[in-house]
């Protein structure tokens, strides 16, 4: 329960008086406080700095060190204070958590020391308030990655026996591991550069011989260029095959971007080799040569910055997409407007809307070639609006891309936020579990609660103490409040599991349910295995159940009650139920199956009727045994 809310528990209990006149049943006894303790001040000495607080403040969280009896280990008899040899600055945050119910993370604090302190005091970091949680998670992630990097470095240095394949792969990925790898790295880099330069120079017109027109160098020195190209492609092919051999997962390697670039870079050459000098396919061949320029992307293996640029563009894909979309919208709008504005003028270049696209794009990107200009006044007005808005629209995503670039240099923003979202869900789930934990302890204590309810009847406090020691006074008072509510409404709290099972049964049993009559006349039913009584009372009223439906009922009833269910207890209006309850406790396990069997519409089914109302242990025993026989028959 939250901190301050514990202070309101007395109020909630007092307000429960409002239910009393409405309840039909007597209320359970209140848990007695063992001694009327005055609230006392506790002194906590943390490395010399003294903190003082009320004992009740610390008791709010009984599952932490300070809230439980664990702090007694730190009690100093002479000075009558609790001494902790820990950091007083972090302790301030810890103590504020008890006071306000919110745990804060101070930014100046180192994340690992903070985590250690939290672990020492038994506080889970998930409770950190929303105000500080993002910061905490960011720092934690950075720390974790730093640790991972350190580990990787260590791992690289010490590796006694690895296969040749793995050494090769590591050499490819990280050229600084060995001199051989470095040499290979530089050689491939050199050849990539050579190949790219060759492609460029190929198209430059060389000096022409007097009697021939200007020819590009490629056609003049065909053989030389062909030799250089062959050499480069051979190197690239060898490199690609070696990478393919060394890759730990060949399939994944083949799907990766870099290998696709490699393949695209060398494929045109081989296709060119295969194809003959056929006139009709030479056009396609020329197109293929364009792909040779992709060799320049192979440089991205060599340059960290290029990779980061690639990641940046990938990560701000949505911003780029939005930019493109908004630009398209603006272009269409302005092109349409310009077209209709310029329609009137003679010899206008704006012949159609798609023709106006060109003008719009050139204007919006502030290029302004001048090949298309508006002549009418309206056209000029709209043209100026177009160029002004173009500046704004283009300038907007640039800072985003820049900031992403710098951020990706440290972390990938998008992937981290997604991971944080997942953790957020897990964290919310944990907090929800701990919150619904307030209902769980109540239901748990009800299951173990037969001794507790026994003490209600006999009114003996001593046994209650034995049970109550396990749960704090606060908890027991809260449970008492919930029990009062149960008594007022004559319904019991159950958890979702049981509720769903009940729903299932309720849906199957299409007879008018008799639960209100049973529940409102709570003083009549006294068996702890009320399930038995309830089912048996349904049968006589089932005048003519359809056969298959009944069969279905039995089967499903058997199926449902297979799980280990706690005995559900109803009211305790009569003291003489005590022995029967004890008996039922041992019986109830088996009665889960027997209760199902009772739904068989056989004459012996009427005997549980009698059992349900007369507390006679021997007859219930025989019923159990006779029903056990029925189990095997089924």
């Amino acid at each position: 329960m939250a901190a301050g809310v514990a202070a309101w528990l007395p109020f909630a209990r007092a307000a429960a008086i409002g239910w009393m006149p409405v309840a039909n049943l007597p209320m359970p006894m209140a848990p007695a406080e063992k001694s009327k303790r005055q609230d006392e001040l506790i002194i906590l000495n943390v490395s010399g700095r003294r903190f003082q607080t009320w004992k009740n403040t610390l008791d709010r969280y009984p599952d932490t060190l300070l809230g439980s009896s664990e702090k007694e280990f730190f009690y100093d008899e002479e000075t009558k204070e609790y001494f902790f040899d820990r950091d007083p600055d972090v302790f301030r945050c810890v103590l504020n958590f008890y006071r306000t119910g919110k745990l804060h993370y101070p930014r100046y604090e180192c994340i690992s020391s903070y985590d250690e302190e939290l672990a020492f005091f038994g506080i889970i970091p998930e409770i950190i308030g929303d105000c500080c949680y993002e910061e905490y998670k960011d720092r934690k992630r950075e720390n974790a990655e730093r640790l991972m990097d350190d580990q990787e470095d260590n791992k690289d240095s010490k590796q006694p026996n690895v296969t040749f394949r793995e050494t090769m792969w590591r050499a490819f990925e990280n050229p600084h591991t060995s001199t051989m790898a470095l040499v290979f790295y530089y050689v491939t880099g050199f050849f990539i550069a050579v190949s790219v330069i060759t492609n460029v120079v190929e198209t430059v017109p060389c000096g022409a011989t007097p009697n021939q027109k200007d020819m590009p160098c490629g056609e003049r020195y065909t053989v030389a260029f062909f030799c250089i190209d062959t050499a480069c492609v051979m190197i690239f092919t060898v490199e690609y095959l070696m990478r393919l051999f060394a890759a730990p997962s060949r399939y994944r390697f083949m799907r990766s971007v870099m290998s696709i670039i490699d393949v695209v870079a060398i494929l045109p050459y081989y296709i060119g080799l295969v194809m003959t000098n056929n006139e009709d396919v030479s056009g396609a061949f020329v197109t293929l040569r364009v792909f040779r320029v992709f060799r320049i992307f192979k440089f991205s293996r060599h340059s960290q910055g290029l990779r980061i640029l690639g990641y940046t563009l990938k990560s701000c894909a949505s911003e780029l997409g939005f930019l493109l979309f908004s630009l398209t919208m603006a272009i269409i709008i302005f092109a349409t407007v310009m077209f209709y504005a310029e329609k009137g003028s003679t010899s206008s270049k704006f012949t159609s809307i798609p023709a106006s696209f060109w003008y719009t794009i050139v204007t919006m990107t502030t290029l302004g070639y001048g090949d298309m200009v508006p002549k009418t006044i309206a056209g000029k007005i709209f043209g100026s609006i177009c160029s002004l808005s173009g500046v704004l629209v283009i300038a907007l995503p640039v800072p985003v891309i820049v900031s992403n670039f710098s951020r990706i240099y440290h972390q990938n923003q998008r992937a981290d936020k997604r991971r944080a979202q997942k953790v957020q869900k897990a964290r919310l789930a944990r907090i929800r579990i701990s919150k619904t934990g307030t209902s769980r302890p109540f239901l748990h204590s009800k299951r173990n609660g037969l001794p507790n309810e026994a003490l209600d009847l006999t009114g003996s406090i001593e046994e209650g103490n034995h049970q109550g020691a396990a749960i704090s006074l606060l908890e027991s008072q809260h449970h008492h409040l919930l029990r009062c509510l149960e008594k007022t409404t004559n319904h019991k709290f159950v958890d979702e599991h049981l509720y769903e099972q009940n729903c299932l049964e309720g849906a199957l049993q299409s007879y008018p349910s008799h639960s209100p009559s049973l529940s409102s006349s709570g003083s009549l039913t006294g068996t702890c295995c009320s399930r038995r009584a309830r089912k048996s009372s349904h049968l006589p009223n089932a005048s003519a159940p359809p056969g298959p439906l009944c069969g279905l009922q039995e089967l499903s009833a058997v199926h449902i009650q297979h799980s280990d269910r706690p005995p559900l207890s109803t009211s305790r209006s009569s003291l003489n139920l005590m022995p029967k309850e004890v008996l039922c406790k041992t019986n109830c396990k088996s009665s889960q199956i027997t209760a199902a069997i009772i739904s068989i519409p056989t004459p012996p089914g009427t005997t549980p009727d009698g059992d349900g109302h007369t507390p006679s242990s021997p007859s219930s025993q025989t019923t159990v045994s006779s029903n056990i026989v029925k189990v095997s028959a089924l």
């Binding site: 329960m1 301050g4 809310v5 202070a7 309101w8 007395p10 109020f11 909630a12 209990r13 007092a14 307000a15 429960a16 008086i17 409002g18 009393m20 006149p21 409405v22 309840a23 039909n24 049943l25 007597p26 209320m27 006894m29 209140a30 007695a32 005055q38 609230d39 504005a341 329609k343 009137g344 003028s345 006044i377 309206a378 007005i381 609006i385 919150k435 809260h478 409040l481 919930l482 009062c484 509510l485 149960e486 007022t488 409404t489 004559n490 319904h491 019991k492 709290f493 159950v494 958890d495 979702e496 049981l498 509720y499 009940n502 639960s515 209100p516 049973l518 529940s519 409102s520 559900l568």
Partner: protein, 233 residues
């Protein structure tokens, strides 16, 4: 020819209109001119209600709590509501924490009205402590009086079946839906019927304060449960 001239002129006018509107909007955006009469500062000054309770001595005299108990109560109260008053939402919030399985807001609403004796929409520490004094330290008569006041939603001195049904539904709401036996629609209604059968002596369809107190005093269970929370503080 004429139509094209008209078109161009029309478009020119349209262009000029667009420019004028855009510039006006820009100026309005920059805050240089204002169109409407209301002020630019729309942000309400959320006046923080601060309430200081009466002195300890006065409260001691008015309620049946000792000084120490009042101190403890006030500390808890102030911790949860630093402004000194509880408004209905905070009240519902706090009360709901005790009943995680159901919806305690309706009952909390009735409870709030019962505590807010001067009906000003907020419960101050005095209201809180007075209410608690009646509930925990008051005589049985006073407690029954308070309960009657709680049930009588419109405070007209009679509990009608509708009022009782509202209260009953709100109590059953607190149970939530995961109950055994499963809550049916008519359960609160039946409970109200039982209540009226017991309480309404002259069968006129309403329960007056005298009928209520008489009936409760004659009922063993109710009397016993009224004493239940004697030592809560």
């Amino acid at each position: 020819m004429l139509t094209t001239v008209w078109e161009t002129e029309g478009l020119q006018t349209a262009g000029i209109v667009v420019i004028v509107c855009a510039s006006l909007k820009l100026l309005h955006l920059l805050g240089i001119i204002n169109f409407s009469e209301d002020s630019v500062e729309d942000e309400l000054e959320m006046s923080t209600v601060r309430h200081r309770p009466e002195g300890l001595e006065q409260l001691e005299a008015q309620t049946k709590f000792s000084r120490k108990e009042l101190q403890i109560l006030y500390r808890g109260f102030k911790n949860e509501c630093p402004s000194g008053v509880v408004n209905e939402d905070t009240f519902k919030d706090i009360y709901s924490q005790f009943f995680p399985q159901g919806d305690a807001s309706t009952y909390a609403h009735f409870l709030f009205n019962a505590f807010d004796t001067d009906h000003n929409g907020s419960v101050s520490f005095e209201d809180f402590v007075m209410g608690l004094s009646i509930l925990l330290r008051g005589s049985v008569q006073e407690k029954l009086n308070w309960a009657f006041n709680l049930y009588d939603i419109n405070k007209d001195g009679y509990i009608t079946k509708e009022e009782m049904l509202d209260i009953m539904k709100s109590i059953y709401d607190m149970m939530g839906k995961c109950t055994y036996p499963i809550l049916k629609e008519e359960t609160p209604r039946q409970h109200v019927e039982i209540f009226f059968q017991k309480m309404d002596k002259n069968k006129d369809g309403v329960v007056t304060i005298d009928e209520f107190i008489d009936c409760c005093q004659n009922d063993e269970n109710i009397m016993r449960s009224m004493q239940l929370f004697e030592n809560v503080i």
